[in-house]
Symmetry: C2
Subunit: 456 residues, 2 copies
């Protein structure tokens, strides 16, 4: 409760600032606009640009383009990044890109059209352009694209003192680094030492004697989702990246991994709901329709399956029209049960808590839980139906259909994502549509079928 209240307070302050900024934009008051924008963090400027409408965004950028820096472009949502970059003078974009680390430039470039990509690549300094092009040569969503190429290494036989002297003398060091990576003569990483240990150990101590147990490497071709999992599972802060020959080519830091984890969560949530995985509040209505209509059209087809099932029982319904009113109860409760089972299974697959080792046990658990839920709901619905319609046969049909559909729902909720995963597909991909189609069809079929047998 308090959490959201606190957020609401901040939200009001934020809304006031946004209103003031939009007013300055409208009146073309550049000094006031600059004064209002100046204290904002790049991430907050990016959020602001995402939250206002396209026309306001264009006007703001026209007035304020000189001040946009690389960090803002790096923070901004992909949904509007291309639009923002196109609205800026080419020299502003070029200058902004030159400020960024190469991994951030890669992150921006990989989602632009080839033509825009080329323009930005041409604006980079030679060394950076080569680094960016090398990163883009790795597959999309791979560790190679995520890593920074600036690494801090030391030969494995060095002492703490030698490492400190080297760091003091270094021309430039990465903005963020947390470990000194030890390498053998062939550039293979063999361990790492945290900066805390380097600082607290005596100068004559060998680096090799104070390495961390947590040391592990990832391959440049590993998928970023697997890398994020490893960071989260083993509480890593940074992780060296190696090529096919095991040689060090870069390092991934936890802030990048956290970002990937966040994106994967977003993907799971949006895909489960049948929205493209790039949906954003900044999208316009047309973009929103483009994302949602395909799944709605598919659902129109699958819903027709339910209609076909129901139409087989038209004679039964004609005999007792009350059946038409009651049948959605069984179908809808099944839909909720399927969604529950599905959410738990998709989450457990994402965190790798659901594996081959325990799949059978989880499936048994779902069947048993579905049966127990079904019995409880059947008791309530069956009794209510018997009393309201003064017909215990009808109550019996309601109860039995509920039990069948609850078991099917729990089972479908776990088997559909497990099956998609077995086939090498994303378990979240449209599972929701599959499962609710299943529970709808089964709910109508079980209820009307039983009604036909028992009541007519």
């Amino acid at each position: 409760m308090d959490e959201n209240l606190a957020v609401m307070d901040e939200d009001e302050v934020h809304a006031d600032r946004v209103a003031a900024i939009l007013e300055a934009v409208e009146t073309g008051d550049t000094p006031r606009l600059t004064a209002l924008m100046e204290p904002l963090h790049a991430a907050d400027i990016a959020d602001l640009l995402e939250q206002i409408g396209p026309a306001e965004r264009g006007a703001l950028l026209a007035l304020w383009s000189g001040e946009i820096d690389g960090e803002v472009l790096s923070e901004i949502d992909e949904a509007i990044r291309e639009e923002v970059i196109e609205a800026l003078p080419p020299e502003v974009v070029a200058e902004a890109m030159r400020e960024l680390d190469t991994d951030d430039v890669v992150d921006i470039l990989e989602n632009l059209e080839p033509e825009e990509q080329g323009k930005i690549l041409d604006a980079l300094e030679d060394a950076d352009r080569v680094a960016v092009e090398q990163a883009l040569a790795y597959p999309e969503e791979s560790a190679g694209r995520l890593m920074q190429r600036e690494v801090v290494v030391a030969p494995e036989h060095w002492t703490v003192g030698e490492a400190i002297d080297f760091l003091r003398g270094a021309d430039s060091l990465p903005d963020q680094f947390y470990h000194v990576i030890l390498i053998d003569p062939r550039m293979k990483p063999v361990g790492y030492v945290t900066l805390g240990r380097v600082l607290s150990a005596r100068r004559e101590v060998g680096l090799k004697s104070i390495t961390e147990d947590s040391f592990r490497t990832v391959a440049a071709t590993d998928l970023e989702g697997d890398v994020a999992y490893i960071f989260n599972q083993y509480h890593l802060i940074s992780c060296p990246v190696v090529d096919q020959g095991g040689r060090l080519v870069g390092v991934i830091t936890i802030d990048d991994a956290m970002n990937v984890l966040d994106e994967e969560h977003e993907e799971d949530m949006l895909r489960l709901a049948g929205v493209g995985d790039e949906a954003s509040v900044s999208d316009g209505a047309v973009e929103t329709v483009r994302q949602r209509l395909p799944w709605l059209a598919i659902n129109l087809l699958t819903a027709s399956l339910s209609a076909i099932v129901i139409s087989q029982f038209q004679d039964t319904i004609a005999t007792l029209v009350a059946l038409a009113a009651l049948m959605p109860i069984v179908a809808s409760t099944g839909g909720i049960a399927g969604t529950q089972s599905l959410a738990v299974a998709v989450r457990a697959l994402a965190t790798r808590d659901l594996t081959q080792a325990n799949a059978a046990r989880v499936v048994r658990r779902e069947v048993l839980a579905g049966l127990m839920n079904g019995l409880a709901l059947a008791a309530i619905l069956g009794l209510a139906g018997s009393l309201i319609f003064a017909d215990w046969h009808l109550g019996l049909v309601l109860g039995l259909a509920m039990i069948v559909n609850q078991v099917v729902a729990s089972l479908g909720g776990v088997l559909v994502p497990l099956g998609l995963s077995k086939m090498g597909l994303d378990p979240a991909l449209a599972s929701g549509t599959f499962v609710t189609t299943l529970t709808d069809v089964m709910g109508f079929f079980a209820f009307l079928g039983l009604a036909t047998v028992v009541l007519t």
Copy 2:
């Protein structure tokens, strides 16, 4: 695609190891069990304990209890932690707890029964017990509970050399630290310096001249969800925590923030689906029923609303039984549209991309997108209905009802979570049930109501 295939390969290796471990447990072969468990990381041992059944878990712990360390207890899912702790000899638990940092002990204790809490507190060393009790005095889910109390500080006037000499001479330093926090004489933090800068700067440089721009503090009473947001938004690695007087009381590191972010995502996903936010694959069937049945029972009630709506149109249905078969199409497509709109809104509220500043714009976008989706689906369904039933009046009714319900669905999907948020409630809390009830009731009402007017 490749991602899941890669996971499946690892998954098979993992399944083989689990099978071997369970075999060793069954035959009571402790040396073999120890040999199989030894190479595993604490996080993987915790996962293993979560994935096997309760009986197997008990047998494994009985054979292997001596080897369990604090890190395993810290990694293990809350759903089974109490069970594991109760299965272990008290001296093993006490020893394991003494190994952990106080923030990890707090994390374990806060979810145990008071009796178990007392036993563990008694087993701690005096200084640690006081630290843990002080942390537990902060509200649940606050920064005070999340922070570690071990901090590395330096007076603001120190030089790099003084800081290095101090660190070299320190008796004990935290396992993980990334910054030296500068404090004024009243213990108020005034900035921080990354260890990388301490290492690379010359000894005579003043710490104050090399502090980071990203510096910010959080209050001990701030909610952990807000803290995680700040880490993610501003790419922090660590963040000092201050008391009401602004004095430094601890520090939160990014691995803890990443963990909170992950838990919040889980909560959103499970709550949206109407499952308690503690659902886990390790839960037994009874626990699963306890989490899911309440929402199913609520849905039984809300689904009865649909039944009541439909029953008002029994005469219409009796006249044209085909209506009973067609009505779920409109309701179900509305349910999907509502879920889509809802998922985008809940996600945007969680990432604070949906605020008062843009709520009106997003609501307009949803109405427009709902109208456009509705028109497209109405065209398909209306035409199909007209042709199949050779009745353009029926097609018209289908199409109009579809348009109405699509607009209601998109609008409900964004207004329900916004409303919950305004009331200070979690926008994800059971929004799914509200929205699908709305789209079901509206779908049936619009379709049958229009049918009554147009067709009879």
